[in-house]
Symmetry: C2
Subunit: 671 residues, 2 copies
């Protein structure tokens, strides 16, 4: 690469971009770890994007109508940290840059949502950012239709690398964006031909241009170091009605001796290399030093959007007070006041009517009353709408001719759905939920973990949550998934026992501001066990006494979801023999664990034998079975020991011994 | 669709295909569940494939050089059950067909590997089959190069649906196959334009032809109901050097009133529909009745390959005895006799040399001695070769010009890698392992669960297994993944403490015949803790006493992997204060749980306080902390309570309190 020619052709641009490159070199060297090559390669693209196109105001990082910038290639985190520092985001001080990757710094190894303003999503696990971007663009389209162009009118820009494009989730994202003509989504592909193992050719020969075109994208190919080409391509991309991919041919670790090599992908820390590279850039001054004129040019870029932002604030004042309030409420993630009374009324109706319905149907009953009063909900399913019961009558289907529609047919794309849900939640203003079979949590895990890590309150509607699914067999029957999800930090796993608990779980999920929720819902019908209407949301405590022992309490049976019915039937058997038995419903282990010790001990007092029943592996149950149980307490678990089988559900419950009789026998064996 | 015209054009073919369609209708009706439409739509393609192309012998289902048939669209399981029954596989009786989806039948809702001969892999979770197929084709190429064309020379056929192609894992599979020109792989796409939610248009507009071409595939488009077009296309596909995709335009639920609708995707059970459809087919006779002439035509197809098979057996006799033995050994999955002595020698060398190495490096040390004596190993990494330490000097890289190479650069495709590994293992003759960062278990979960469900002994090399990864931060630091994997049935999770345990774990993983293994390996260096050479594989018992209490035993500290070092240091602190402390190393919880009670109690006797230390969430540890501990036993866990952070590893251990001092303090607090 002829660096001298690049410098000469656009000297001011060159220095602005070099500021990113040198900050990257210095920060990585100081940390003695990180990824130098990507920011060095994409600095020109990022500079032009921020200078000429991005609508943002560094002094108001959370302005709702800003353009969103997603660094899908998150290992190149010094690119975004440099941009945020240079443009003047208050929290991204030079001290933070100097502390790159150190404890307590907001400049983590990969960009972490919530650490610094201007980081729209956590990236690093490849492919997530581009898939999040689809959700950002969906939220923008949907809210533009809802609130009007005066309040919502922005773009989503995403920088993706070869790794992002090789991950399968990118195909799901590309498919969704292409199908729905998300024209405000612009992906800038860092086409540098290098991965960690070597050249891309080692593992891939895919023609990405043709691949994106095949899914209906507008595609351009440019020299990613030519600011004029970059500018023109973005300008064109903004005008097309299709999602755009701009293939930016770049040189990883530009201008260094590691340029165009996999070594350049990683940490370039040698003093010599840094000195020589800076010399090639025409860059003088010590580490972390930015010439005053370059810094002031960047700061001007950072404040360029202030007028736009003020104009937007003016427009916001012009709309009705109720619209202002609704907009603010949705962006704050607050539920409407009437949610509580709506849920209470539904609970009362259920407790009185005592329907025998699957909890997936109960979930639909809840959504039928919730969705009309929460226009910010946005639902969907990965091609199991009729099974997940996620579509309610009022929503409308999101489509190219109905951007107001609040329901997405995601297709058979669990991972893409979950990542899009994250993007919608991160965008703000939308509460996303989406459904699939619980077993296919496996496919969505990559994005579900990020929901938890970022603390975005999306809701996963996971139906067919056990062998109760029946004939589809073990490939479709979760047994370890409750444990997987319960082991994941900051995730509330709800497994409601009936329609009342399901309504309560939805209230909690929608009210959550920083924890995602998983609804584990039955395929099979379940009786109403909460026949005594209570205003209080009992699910909020995670576990509670559903049925008290009639005679002297000798046993406690704990259960969740579809097995609460079995626990109650076991209690009947035991009480008939004079064995006093308490049944504890435990719809959410996490919320129960969060209660104070006195409440937990009240629900699970020491002394009685304990039996837990759940149609899943027992992994993780020992805490409740064996913990604080008193010195004479004995315990047993009734559930699955391995994978399921293909047969009608009732026969499977019998076959695997998940029956009232077996639970009662286990209790008696312990006494 | 003009059924009469189809019947008239190819009357004999029609009846053979109709046998599949009517068996499907009858079996689904009897089960009152299942998927009728797909077998009805793809019956013509499957009939021609089996009649004219598939090399197989129903009387010798495990003949190693048979063509492989993968039904990626596994919900259409009646297609394969019908084919196996009609062609005369002994175990697929009419009784089994009649018991479709019933308890104990080999005709599960989705095809389950191991239930019936002729089922090459378990499918149902969409996209897995097509990704497995890539592994089958890789194994064939690699073994053809190794054993010669006389012994290995076959094709892999895969039927995939729209759902398979929408799942992201399919893109990873397509990319791998295209890059490596897997010309023996032929995918037949059931292009019926219908998903569960409705038409494909609801969720996707991808031009699949262009998409496959973009990754270097040979593509044809045909009428999937025209036997001549089907035949010609397969013939052409077999001759190209690229992987082939044949887009078969079909009508789901052909000839029924549900044709071309999403209703037709599911269970068609109405008596009227079945009667009318059979009438349109020109099919008489009662349920499950196949006309004798049709059955005999099918049986002739089933025995067509017998001569080929016998010829192959003859060729096998012509090769050297040692080659015959090696071939048989590899297909039996047996390890060579000298593996045991090789591992023992390595262990001795390590115990004497006491290297301080990361267990990922120790894994490489093991592979360096294993790979040369096990030519059937096939390694790889999802673009982290230098970090996972999975490539040894002797392997060679699998490529278009080096089919003997036993190492694959999978690219950034964890899910595709795992599914390909499953395919290789299922093909037989190959022992597959593959690496990524442990955190990206999330991406591979869909295929890893199927390794466990099918019982295929692949090995996942998951390095950077904790916060010990350091600066890359929480997106790359697993905390819940050990629990996730331990909760999964039939999965051995090894977390070795040093190079000796790592060598032992590899011996166990490679010797496994029906359980996949996960190696959780450290990024950071660890001291050799097994300095006293023992011939016995102590890891085989899952847990053992690594260091006994010197003074009266008051405490037991349990630990795995990188925290064993911390446990030993804590023991030093405690013994210095006269507190007798045993350290138990627990490299594999599953194998420990499988020991008899007397051994478990010997390792974890009742009485002493118990503290476990592991740099992960404590979920699942209560079994060992609280179980069988005696009435005075107290317990505590030292580990992670949430996600990690970005900083140097040592600082993170300190920050999260995973230190010898903290472990010792916990013990003292309990005493």
């Amino acid at each position: 690469m002829d660096i001298a020619a690049l410098r000469k052709a656009h000297p001011e641009h060159w220095m602005r971009a070099a500021a990113i490159r040198t900050l990257t070199l210095d920060a990585v060297a100081a940390a003695n770890s990180g990824h130098s090559g990507m920011p060095m390669g994409m600095a020109d693209v990022a500079t032009v994007l921020f200078e000429k196109h991005m609508k943002f105001d560094a002094s108001a990082p959370n302005w709702p109508d800003r353009d969103r910038f997603i660094l899908s290639a998150g290992h190149g985190s010094m690119l975004i940290y440099s941009l945020l520092h240079l443009t003047g985001y208050a929290d991204m001080t030079l001290e933070q840059i100097k502390n790159f990757r150190q404890k307590g710094a907001i400049t983590a190894g990969h960009p972490e949502y919530g650490h610094a303003t201007g980081i729209e999503t956590t990236t690093g696990p490849l492919g997530q950012g581009i898939a999040n971007s689809v959700g950002f663009a969906m939220a923008e389209e949907n809210q533009r239709a809802r609130f009007g162009k005066k309040l919502v009118d922005h773009y989503t820009y995403c920088i993706a690398g070869d790794g992002c494009l090789m991950e399968g989730v990118s195909q799901e994202a590309i498919g969704i964006a292409g199908r729905h003509e998300l024209g405000r989504l612009i992906v800038l592909w860092d086409n540098n031909n290098i991965t960690i193992d070597g050249t891309v050719e080692l593992s891939d020969r895919t023609d990405q241009i043709q691949r994106f075109k095949a899914s209906g994208w507008h595609v351009q190919e440019i020299d990613g170091h030519d600011p004029e080409q970059i500018d023109a391509a973005i300008e064109k991309a903004k005008k097309t009605k299709k999602p755009s991919m701009i293939a930016c041919k770049t040189h990883i670790a530009l201008g260094s001796s590691a340029q165009d090599t996999s070594k350049g992908h990683g940490a370039l820390t040698s003093d010599d290399l840094i000195r020589d590279t800076k010399a090639a850039y025409g860059w003088s001054g010590g580490p972390f030093e930015i010439p005053a004129d370059v810094k002031s040019q960047w700061e001007a870029i950072g404040s360029r959007g202030a007028a736009d932002r003020q104009a937007w604030e003016g427009r916001m004042q012009e709309v009705s007070g109720s619209k202002q309030k609704e907009f603010a409420r949705c962006y704050a993630g607050d539920v409407p006041n009437k949610l509580s009374s709506t849920i209470k009324a539904l609970k009362k109706q259920i407790s009185e009517g005592k329907p025998k319905v699957a909890t997936r149907k109960a979930s639909e009953m809840a959504l039928e009353v919730i969705n009309p009063i929460m226009q910010e909900t946005f639902g969907g399913s990965a091609d199991l709408t009729g099974s997940n019961n996620t579509l309610t009558g009022d929503m409308g289907v999101f489509d190219t001719d109905n951007r107001k529609g609040r329901y997405m047919y995601y297709g058979i794309r669990e991972h893409g759905m979950a990542a899009a849900m994250n993007g919608m939640a991160l965008h703000g203003g939308t509460k996303a939920y989406g459904g699939t079979f619980m077993c296919f949590t496996d496919y969505a895990r990559g994005a579900m973990r990020l929901s938890a890590l970022m603390g975005v309150p999306v809701t996963y509607v996971m139906t067919h949550d056990s062998i109760g699914l029946g004939e589809d067999g073990p490939t479709h029957q979760p047994v370890e998934h409750l444990a997987m999800l319960r082991a994941t930090p900051n995730t509330n796993v709800f497994r409601p026992a009936d329609a009342v608990e399901t309504a309560e779980a939805w209230e909690l999920a929608l009210s959550s501001k920083s924890t995602p929720s998983v609804m584990a819902l039955s395929r099979q019908n379940l009786p109403t066990v909460r026949t005594d209407h209570k205003l209080k949301n009992l699910t909020a405590q995670g576990a509670y006494v559903l049925a008290e022992a009639e005679s002297k309490r000798q046993a406690i049976i704990m259960a969740t979801g579809s097995e609460v019915e079995i626990a109650l039937a076991a209690r009947e058997l035991l009480e008939a023999e004079g064995i006093g038995t308490r049944v504890v419903s435990m719809p959410c282990h996490e919320l129960f664990a969060a209660q104070d010790e006195s409440y937990r001990r009240k629900v699970l007092p020491a002394g009685p034998v304990r039996v837990a029943v759940e149609a899943a592996v027992g992994f993780g149950w020992d805490r409740w079975l064996l913990g604080e149980r008193g010195k004479n307490g004995k315990a047993a678990f009734v559930g699955m020991e391995g994978f399921g089988a293909s047969a009608p559900a009732d026969e499977l419950y019998e076959h695997f011994g998940i029956t009232a009789q077996n639970v009662a026998d286990k209790v008696k064996g312990l006494l």
